[in-house]
Symmetry: none
Amino acid sequence: MRPAPERRREILDTAAEVFAAQGYDATTVRRIADAAGLLAGSLYYHFDSKESMLDEILASFLRELWGRYDAVLAAGLDPRQTIEALVTESFREIDRHRAAVAIFQKESRHLQELPRFGYLADAQHRFEEAWLGTLERGVAAGVFRADLDVRLTYRFVRDTVWVAASWYRPGGQHSPEEIARQYLSMVLEGIAFITRT
Amino acid sequence: MRPAPERRREILDTAAEVFAAQGYDATTVRRIADAAGLLAGSLYYHFDSKESMLDEILASFLRELWGRYDAVLAAGLDPRQTIEALVTESFREIDRHRAAVAIFQKESRHLQELPRFGYLADAQHRFEEAWLGTLERGVAAGVFRADLDVRLTYRFVRDTVWVAASWYRPGGQHSPEEIARQYLSMVLEGIAFITRT
Amino acid sequence: MRPAPERRREILDTAAEVFAAQGYDATTVRRIADAAGLLAGSLYYHFDSKESMLDEILASFLRELWGRYDAVLAAGLDPRQTIEALVTESFREIDRHRAAVAIFQKESRHLQELPRFGYLADAQHRFEEAWLGTLERGVAAGVFRADLDVRLTYRFVRDTVWVAASWYRPGGQHSPEEIARQYLSMVLEGIAFITRT
Amino acid sequence: MRPAPERRREILDTAAEVFAAQGYDATTVRRIADAAGLLAGSLYYHFDSKESMLDEILASFLRELWGRYDAVLAAGLDPRQTIEALVTESFREIDRHRAAVAIFQKESRHLQELPRFGYLADAQHRFEEAWLGTLERGVAAGVFRADLDVRLTYRFVRDTVWVAASWYRPGGQHSPEEIARQYLSMVLEGIAFITRT
DNA sequence: AATGAATGAGGATTCATTCAT
DNA sequence: AATGAATGAATCCTCATTCAT
């Protein structure tokens, strides 16, 4: 009588994959249905609308992500450790929900206009708070460079991480932790070869 | 009395702006027409289709960009100077054609499937050649770190630059050259504060 | 200041050719304009509308045709001679205005619904009068077979003639008179070989 | 509960009727939908496009027709019997699928240009083979007149038969077989009254 | 006479969604 | 849970027509 939650998840994962590949607007419910092995109309037994599928994908991704982020932020780490932990958690999240991250990345900006997706704007603000705050504390503590525009730095770090969702494939040759390590090394120390004493 | 091409450009710039803001698929021709001050049907006096507007926007952006890139690559600079010049030209391009860059960034992946937009895939390959090649030469020459995955570095630098199109606003407080300088500084030397001797 | 009548004719002939080839509805004014060597909008200097081009083509064809038919019908010929003359005049008309005849043939039926083209229905009635009347007189006079349904015979003869417009090409190997002769021979004597005494 | 194909056929028959009455190009899908009792958009649940409706109408008509023709041609009849049988089958086909025949007659010529309707040209060639071949054998056998241009005769017979679709109404006073008999009598023996010994 | 740019109505088609079964 | 048929609104696009130049 009640919809099986596993089927929901299955369909939702399929939908996320298709949304990520084609873009939300370019995706028809029929394509999702085809990929999930049922007819378009049948999707409506499980979901209210195409939009609510998207909503569920994004909301559950953010819920999980903030779970991790909040744990990091509450751990009392120093700024550099915090940045390292946030980056690592981000790559783990990309590993777990690549499609959702890609959708978030691509569609966030224009979805924010819709009341239903107002929480995407909130998420952006919380991101900014978390990352920018950490960077500022780091600059104050002398562990991050003071000669750079912090906002620019913030965007740099943020984009650096999330854009990876557009090319990352789970099960590739690097684990998320390894990718995180390399990214962090680049971001923190730069790619130029320098003799350090 | 006035030469026609100006109107074309006008409309095309408008279209690019709307595509960048809403996404290509989510943009209706009516919206473009509204923004350009004519009726939807009238667009078809100037253009064959919505798709051919997109085509023209992307193709002319890439044409211009490659003009700049080729000049840089032909200038006989060393690897580090080449990277610096490429990044600077990229930010200048973002400054000139922010919308086109944003569209390229967002829609490239799924447009490549369409035969008409096959040249987008070609462009990716040429990018890779130019950037990756330069990085490899730099590693060989000892100016870039050898302990990083070069492909990862390539994606890092490339994405880091282009994603800027999604938040950059021309006429902001930093000139494209200033942004390029800060970006390069971050990418090359890292954001961590380090005592260098 | 006043439109040159020759240009009108030129355009009208072009239009007739295109209408005949593609069908009236499937023909765009742009195609006519292309074929006539001007821009679509410029047609409206010469004509009120696409429909009025069609009107002029059909009306002038019928005007000319009835001139010939009336002459035949007034000539006091016997039924067989009348049929022969009508057929011959018809093929001459096809020779002169193939396109107009083809259009008349193809579009007549559904154009009749439009008030403006009511005269097409009138023409059909006058045709019927002329041909059917002649056939009936011929049957009464014993020169045409009495064992056939006269209406069927009428349609047979009428169609036989006009359908030729769909394949006839002026300047082919047979003159219109020669084609008329052969058609008449078929219609009157049949295609079966029979020993007549 | 009811098998779907019936609805398809229903709609297709309606469409054929409208196409025949108004011409393919002049027919809007809305008119078909109105006549079939659903909304325009709903047609696309059953058919890909307006064009594919036309395609299906014409293709299935030709399929059936060639079934009958092939049976006749394989029956080993003499030329005169063959012509008689082909004509009779043609009128039966007109009786069964008047609309399809009328469409074929009216639209065939310009549809042939489209790749999708290339089979219409093929059909013309097979017609020519069948009819013209039979006539030539008849001339050689001395049962058809040798003093007429055979190609002209072919067109004469062919058109004479098919044009009937434009005025024929099923359920009229003559059965298709009766019409065939009269037509054959006219075509074979002519309409002129002649004393035969 | 003709052009170039535009209009506006209408056309085919798509697609999210509904609902009886 | 899912299907099959349909809805209706919206979308891209076409095209006859207009009109200032």
